[in-house]
Amino acid sequence: MRSIGILLLGFLLLAFESPFLHEASVSHYAPDLALCVVLYVGLTTGLASGMGVALLLGLLKDGFALSSPVGLHMEIAAVAFLVSFRLSRRLALRGPGPLMLIAMFFSMGASLLELLLSLVFDRTFGHGAGGPTVILVSMIPQALATAPFAPLVFWLLDKLDALTTRKGGDSVYLG
């Protein structure tokens, strides 16, 4: 139930993200909301179910971002989940500040991984409008755009958790 809720919320975030940013005329540096969801899942969920949710979120993101080959965001989500899953046992996140910092690093890591995977697997990479330069140039702005949304996504997921698991709505990460 919780996993379905998280998937549904991730799906809605992905569906609304693109038109919202387009309407707000800031579509160039879109925050990676799916990555924030994966980060949350990695910090709060078990390995098998969490990995399943992360893979499906990555697949959905591949569906929404049709310019990249299917599997690219799945792989990024899987790696991001694994890293955050490992971090969840060693890192004590408190408050929105550290959370934003972590989200920023994850976003930059995701951009580097996207660049690497695209170079290896995508035969058309660099032929069209996108390319290594675009990813490298937009890496930091995208990380800066993602960071402020992480507390918001975490807050939403905390509320969802409270609904689906009937636990208290207080967040471990937002203080």
Binding site: P19, A78, V79, L82, D122, R123, T124
Partner: protein
């Protein structure tokens, strides 16, 4: 085998989770132009959702931009309203100046017509108004310091206003020609009928009556009544009023006709006080040439004696 799987479950999950996307990536990256089953399924799931989200966001965005437009329009309307108020004020001021200019031109024209009269221009600074909104008395901004004395005629281009009733240092009070206490020697212009014009104006009317001795023939409504000059107070030839009705009534020895004044006492703003009459036409002519002054506070004598 099962035990082995249980022991390495986590590693197997991780391996599968990393390998599956890589496989998909390999397949789709190799032939990106061909739409696969996975891509078709993804499009079927994501496209309607994105379309609906797009419509919702557009509606909200449209509503918001409409709201912003309304706010902008409101601000612009307020700015226009302020500007309009300022312009209306300026227009009113300009209209006031135009009217004043017109009145002063009229006074100047009168001065040119009547070069035989020595006058002081004055502003009306006060009006006593009856409960029927009729002016019963006016006050001028010139007085004895300017050479005014009681009884001096007060005129404007339209005709006789009245006479100075009381005078002090810088102010004078005028008794109107329609005041019940007022009496002026007059004649009907071009008809040879002479008589006395007495004010009958009460608080609610501007009227006067013409009293004369002999029953007159040939009078008509609208005939002009002018000062005769016989009383040595009012200079001759100044319009006083017009015959209002021909219902001649006998009052003792006199016959009586109703007269309406030539001047609208409600709108008087500037007047001329006749302080003397010139007898030498040459002097009168010279003075008249320089008589272009307008009334001002404290008054100004136009021309020399």
């Amino acid at each position: 085998m099962r035990e082995l799987f249980e022991r390495h479950r986590a590693a197997l999950v991780i391996f599968a989770a990393l390998a599956l996307p890589l496989f998909l990536l390999y397949v789709h990256g190799r032939s990106p132009r061909r739409t696969t089953i996975v891509e078709a399924a993804l499009i079927r799931v994501t496209a309607p959702a994105q379309s609906a989200a797009s419509r919702i966001i557009s509606s909200v965005g449209g509503f918001w931009s409409g709201y912003v437009d309304v706010i902008d329009a409101k601000e612009q309307a307020l700015a226009c309203e302020d500007k309009s108020r300022i312009l209306a004020g300026e227009a009113l001021q300009t209209r006031t100046y135009e009217l004043e200019n017109e009145r002063l031109r009229q006074l100047l024209a009168f001065k040119r017509e009547r070069r035989d009269l020595e006058t002081i221009a004055a502003h009306v600074i006060g009006k006593d108004v009856s409960s029927f909104a009729r002016v019963v008395r006016i006050e001028l901004d010139v007085g004895s310091r300017d050479g005014l004395r009681e009884g001096m005629p007060v005129v404007m281009r339209e005709g006789l206003v009245g006479r100075i009733n009381q005078v002090s240092g810088g102010y004078a009070e005028v008794m109107l020609a329609v005041d019940a206490r007022s009496s002026v020697n007059v004649k009907v212009a071009g008809k040879g009928v002479t008589g006395t014009l007495e004010g009958t104006g009460t608080g609610n009317t501007y009227t006067a009556r013409l009293l004369y001795l002999h029953k007159a023939e040939g009078l008509a409504v609208g005939d002009e009544i002018v000062t005769s000059g016989h009383d040595k107070v009012f200079p001759p030839g100044i319009t006083v009023g017009y015959i209002h009705s021909l219902e001649e009534r006998q009052r003792g020895l006199y016959y009586e006709l109703q007269v309406v004044p030539a001047v609208n006492f409600s709108t008087i703003e500037e007047v001329l006080v006749v302080v003397g009459q010139r007898t030498d036409p040459a002097d009168a002519s010279l003075d008249a040439e320089g008589a272009t002054g307008t009334p001002r506070a404290g008054g100004r004598r136009e021309g020399g004696r």
